[in-house]
């Protein structure tokens, strides 16, 4: 698993408190039962804190799947 994807997976597990969730780059919110709008907000907050980065609302709105999130994080860190 991509290192960033692995870290996002761990963060997401912590947010939704479900140990058996495995995200991949094509995963979308519709694929995960616990990925509701409030968890999405908390997921973004947790990502920003974990990586010490900030997104814009436009960036977040452009994400189509977890792969886009991985790319966005890696772009911020590069």
């Amino acid at each position: 698993m991509n290192k960033t994807l692995d870290e996002l997976n761990k963060i997401f597990i912590d947010v939704v408190d479900e140990d058996d969730i495995v995200l991949n780059e094509s995963t979308t919110a519709q694929d995960v039962e616990d990925w509701d709008s409030l968890n999405h907000i908390q997921f973004v907050v947790a990502i920003e804190k974990h990586f010490d980065i900030k997104f814009t609302s436009a960036e977040i709105a452009s994400w189509q799947n977890v792969g886009a999130m991985v790319s966005a994080v890696e772009h911020k860190l590069s």
Binding site: L38, I41, Q42, V44, V45, E48, F55, T56
Partner: protein
């Protein structure tokens, strides 16, 4: 956006006195009459000087602070984590200091770091809150 009314580092203070009315009201509503909260003799047995107030009364104070005192009005609590470090007794005067710890503009979230101290300046609880500033779209959905 309303979230711009606060900045990281802003601090807000609010005082509370844990009154008999609050203690009785909490027990009336939530039915928790555990002897730790009602019996001095029982509390003494476990090393407390008197019956201990329910820790979740402090959660109520946080709710009051967010809903009635915090400058952002179109807001809701997303998450709240509280740790109790020392007992609170009937009649204690508590000072809540709430500091804006972080702002996540992208999702309109404000994080608060809160501390309750008693009149002896002893910390009785610390709490972390995530608040979501409601957007116009959110408000329309309500």
């Amino acid at each position: 956006m309303e979230i711009g009314l606060v900045n990281v580092g802003d601090e807000f203070n609010e005082e509370f006195v844990l009154s008999e009315e609050t203690h009785e009201g909490f027990m009336k509503v939530f039915k928790d009459r555990h002897p730790l909260h009602t019996s001095t003799k029982y509390a003494n047995k476990y090393g407390f000087s008197s019956n201990v107030m329910h820790g979740n009364i402090l959660n109520g104070y946080l709710s009051y602070f967010v809903g009635e005192c915090f400058p952002l009005k179109q807001i809701m609590i997303l998450a709240q984590d509280i740790k109790f470090s020392n007992p609170v007794y009937l009649g204690d005067k508590l000072l809540l200091v709430a500091r804006v710890a972080a702002i996540h503009q992208s999702v309109s979230v404000v994080e608060l770091s809160c501390r309750f101290t008693n009149s002896k300046a002893v910390t009785v609880a610390k709490a972390a809150l995530s608040l979501r500033a409601l957007t116009e779209m959110d408000v329309k959905e309500l």
